[in-house]
């Protein structure tokens, strides 16, 4: 049986192999477009500032494709390091760096040099 799982209409699945294949191709094309264009338009940039031995508040409403800009406004070198190792940004005072959020989920992060500095990103798909 052809894979019809991408067909989202409530109508009965068309059993004809040829029609199903065409429908599936159209759906794939539509999905690709949905992933590329609207996601690019939706992607946002959020800033998290390191200052006075703290990370600033974590932005809400994060989505896959968004970018975090880390800005070190502190007197000390800091890192933003994911506990799951998905990112590790090392910043001297005054520097900034970027992390693009690739996967949905919750990511706790710390400064490797000052592990009392902590934060959490909650990323929706």
């Amino acid at each position: 049986m052809p894979n019809t799982s991408r067909l989202r209409s409530g109508r009965p699945v068309v059993e004809t192999a040829d029609l199903t294949r065409r429908a599936a191709l159209l759906t794939v094309a539509a999905s690709a477009a949905a992933a590329a264009l609207p996601a690019a338009a939706r992607a946002r940039t959020h800033t998290i500032v390191m200052e006075k031995m703290r990370f600033g508040p974590s932005p809400t409403g994060l989505r896959v494709g968004d970018t975090i800009v880390w800005v070190n406004r502190d007197l000390f070198r800091h890192t933003a390091t994911a506990r799951n190792r998905s990112f590790d940004v090392d910043l001297v005072p005054g520097a900034s760096g970027r992390t693009i959020l690739r996967t949905p989920g919750t990511v706790d992060y710390i400064c490797r040099f000052h592990p009392g500095m902590t934060g959490r990103l909650i990323v929706a798909s």
């Binding site: 006075k52 031995m53 703290r54 007197l75 000390f76 070198r77 040099f113 000052h114 592990p115 009392g116």
Partner: protein, 172 residues
Amino acid sequence: MLRTLIAAGALAFAPIAAAAHDTGPNDAQIAHIAYTAGQLDVAAAQQALKKSTNPEVRAFAELMARDHAAVNDHAVALVTRLGVSPEANPTSTALTEAAAATHDRLETLEGAAFDAAYVANEVAFHRTVNTALAGTLIPHADNAELKALLETGLSLFQSHQAHAEHLASSVR
């Protein structure tokens, strides 16, 4: 080790406690105490980097040298801008003398014995300085920028203290 800890605490606190009974240390004295504490910890880190081969101890010492130098650079810039001349006082003298004694004692140690003694002293030193910052230096600081820098310093040194305590359990 215990004797060192008590000595460091007693030396550092006696003059501060005495000063606190009247008006407490002034900003010029506070700046001198904080700067001296930072310099002493940078010097201790340099000794550790010269003597230790333990990667964790060396990473800690590099962090101490970098962070304390950063605070002190800002402290110098601040007092220069404010036109304050840091003023030597019994507390900073006591800290310096205690650190000299510790340096000489650590210089005779090697390997794991050195690592354990260095880290134990870092725990004691940061504990002493943090207690002084929270209990005396920050409350008595008049200038708002000096107070803010001391508060940032306290957050930093508390992080260092926790790091040293964690490290102490692995080099004991």
